[in-house]
């Protein structure tokens, strides 16, 4: 089992440079501590225009800062939005290789396509196209990283022969992942031989179903690269305290603030009818409903939250482990609802009491070669 921390960088109102800077400084301090405590990953999202919910629009810079202040922990894009209006694939390849170089081969590259109209509309992206462009990105990136020189004739971009420089440190390249929000994306991951990076709350039963199907499908995948990343990571909330009541009080406060901010985003399916987005994303409840929907009800609490004392956290993670999850990534705060000192204490307690209960897994799956894989 691996453990990671996951940055959305949510910022409470009223906005000011001071509070934004504080959120960033706090995140960097959390990353340094996580590195020292033996956590495996630190991930940063890419979001644009999402007031309060996430002010993390330039994750490559955040992760570079993390890499420069840490020695061992792996740094992960969670994830790069793979639509050309936001990120040209050549620039993604160049930036990722640079970060892999600067971090000494510690990069993980998550891919995504964005789920809010707030973001897609801001960049004038056609939602019908994002799954297609994502697919081309994940097939192109291994080629752009490895082939020298390289040319590409594709649907969303083409280029004559050029050298894309620098090249990544990791051989053959940083592990690839896709963020999984909508049911079915785990199958897209499996078919391409890339890792499954959960970013939405799923029940034990739903996660077990997804994980089982992912592992079944990936056995016969047509990988996009010469290596297969067959890891499944899930997202969780962490607030660990010896006093279970105190843990619930603070933990639920930040989780609630984060969930409410999440629900205020304008979801793609809500704004733009399309077959390409079959569900409202993340934590949002359904848009339409019967008369039974009580507006006083919040978002249903996900199962297996790591908000509690160490014993509770161990039990929850054992359950995740039993259904085949390889890693758990934790949101540590939301809207700065938890004081930074308490966040750091929670991390320390988790590392001291919970992490030793779980064995480390094999090295990053990037090392696993794919049979008959594309180069």
């Amino acid at each position: 089992m691996k453990f990671g921390i996951f940055f959305e960088l949510s910022v409470p109102r009223p906005f000011s440079t001071a509070i934004e800077r504080q959120v960033y400084e706090n995140a960097l301090e959390q990353a340094r501590l996580a590195d020292a405590l033996g956590f495996d990953w630190v991930w940063a999202v890419e979001h644009h225009f999402l007031e309060e919910y996430s002010h993390c629009s330039a994750p490559e810079l955040v992760l570079t800062a993390v890499a420069m202040q840490t020695q061992r922990i792996r740094v992960g894009h969670g994830a790069v939005v793979c639509v050309p209006e936001m990120n040209h694939p050549i620039r993604v390849a160049e930036r990722a290789a640079t970060l892999d170089l600067l971090s000494g081969g510690r990069l993980e590259l998550g891919t995504a396509r964005s789920s809010t109209w707030t973001e897609l509309g801001g960049f004038q992206v056609n939602p019908d196209e994002t799954k297609k462009t994502w697919d081309e990105f994940v097939r192109a990136l291994p080629v752009l990283w490895r082939r020298e020189p390289v040319r590409w004739n594709g649907r969303c971009f083409s280029m004559p022969e050029r050298s894309i420089l620098p090249k990544p440190v990791q051989d053959p390249h940083p592990p690839l992942w896709v963020t999984v929000t909508s049911p079915g994306t785990e199958l897209d991951a499996a078919e391409r031989g890339i890792g499954c990076l959960g970013v939405s709350a799923a029940s034990y039963r739903e996660q077990e179903r997804r994980t089982r199907e992912y592992h079944r499908r990936i056995q016969s995948c047509n990988p996009v690269s010469s290596v297969v990343n067959d890891q499944v990571a899930t997202l969780n909330f962490l607030y660990c305290h010896e006093d279970r009541k105190r843990a619930a009080e603070l933990g639920m406060r930040f989780m609630g603030a984060f969930s409410v901010a999440n629900s205020h985003l304008l979801w793609t399916r809500e704004a733009f009818p399309t077959r390409a987005y079959q569900s409202l994303a993340n934590l949002a409840p359904s848009a339409s409903g019967s008369g039974a929907t009580n507006p006083a009800d919040g978002v249903a609490l996900p199962e297996g939250l790591c908000i509690g004392d160490p014993k509770h956290c161990i039990e929850a993670i054992k359950r995740w482990e039993s259904i085949g999850v390889n890693g758990v990534n934790f949101l540590l705060n939301g809207m700065e609802a938890v004081p930074q000192a308490a966040v750091l204490d929670s991390l320390r307690l988790f590392a001291r009491e919970v992490m030793p209960q779980f064995e480390k897994e094999r090295p990053p799956a990037a090392a696993r070669p794919a049979a008959g894989a594309a180069q």
Partner: protein
């Protein structure tokens, strides 16, 4: 957290009075629903909704027109202008203004469900590749909404949010929650165009649907259920919701 800042007194004009919460459910078979979403500037997003609601980011105005060939009150068309909001964490359309071309239906929808439905002339035009809804009041065109170039979707691909109507109820001023059940049998996506829009006629002169996003036309049976929840308009739904 973004929350509304409108004063309830400012929202009360032209709002209906509900005698009770016992209006029977109503079935509107084979209705056509044209829905269009436009972004609005953020400058007035909080000011147009009550403190109990959260506007979305970005602010969005939804225009929703129903053409109902059959109802307990006869055939009618209803056109709503709705601010897209969240009540608690749930998507809801806060109805800013509404127009109805059948006086009996307007009265029933107002008195039974809280729609601020004023009578108006509503004209529908469907050509090969366009759908157009025009609304006239006092001879003035207060809405001309057009959708062009239909593209087929799965019937359930169009999302319809529940409805919140501000009304004077036996419990005082409340947001009356109505969750019409929409059983769609056909849906098409359209390219939206707003040829005429009189903001004041739809409830607030600050409405500015400046950025077209999407439109759709759906064939569906609509069921208006009985009211089950109301919310205090000045209190967040987490604590301000009442079961009726």
């Amino acid at each position: 957290m973004i929350t509304g800042t409108a004063r309830i007194a400012e929202l009360q004009a032209r709002r209906p009075k509900l005698a009770g919460f016992d209006a029977p459910a109503a079935l509107l078979p084979r209705a056509e629903i044209m829905q269009a979403l436009f972004e609005m500037p953020g400058s007035a997003r909080e000011a147009i909704v009550p403190p109990g609601l959260h506007p979305t980011n970005p602010a969005a105005l939804v225009l929703q027109a129903w053409r109902c060939p059959e109802s307990p009150w006869g055939a009618f068309s209803l056109v709503q202008a709705r601010a897209q909001t969240r009540s608690g964490v749930r998507p809801r359309g806060f109805v800013l203004g509404a127009a109805c071309d059948n006086a009996a239906a307007a009265e029933a929808l107002a008195a039974g469900f809280g729609f601020p439905a004023a009578t108006a002339e509503v004209r529908w035009q469907r050509a090969y590749d366009t759908v157009r809804v025009d609304v006239f009041r006092g001879g003035e065109a207060i809405l001309a909404l057009e959708g062009a170039d239909p593209e087929p979707l799965a019937a359930g691909d169009v999302q319809f949010s529940g409805t919140l109507n501000l009304a004077d109820t036996p419990r005082g001023w409340r947001l009356v929650q109505l969750d019409p059940e929409i059983r769609a049998t056909r849906s098409e996506r359209l390219r939206p165009k707003l040829a005429a829009f009189s903001a004041a006629a739809w409830g607030d002169s600050r409405l500015d649907p400046y950025w077209p996003v999407s439109a759709s036309i759906t064939l569906a049976d609509i069921e208006l259920p009985q009211i089950r929840f109301v919310c205090r308009p000045e209190e967040l739904a987490f604590t301000g919701t009442e079961k009726v």
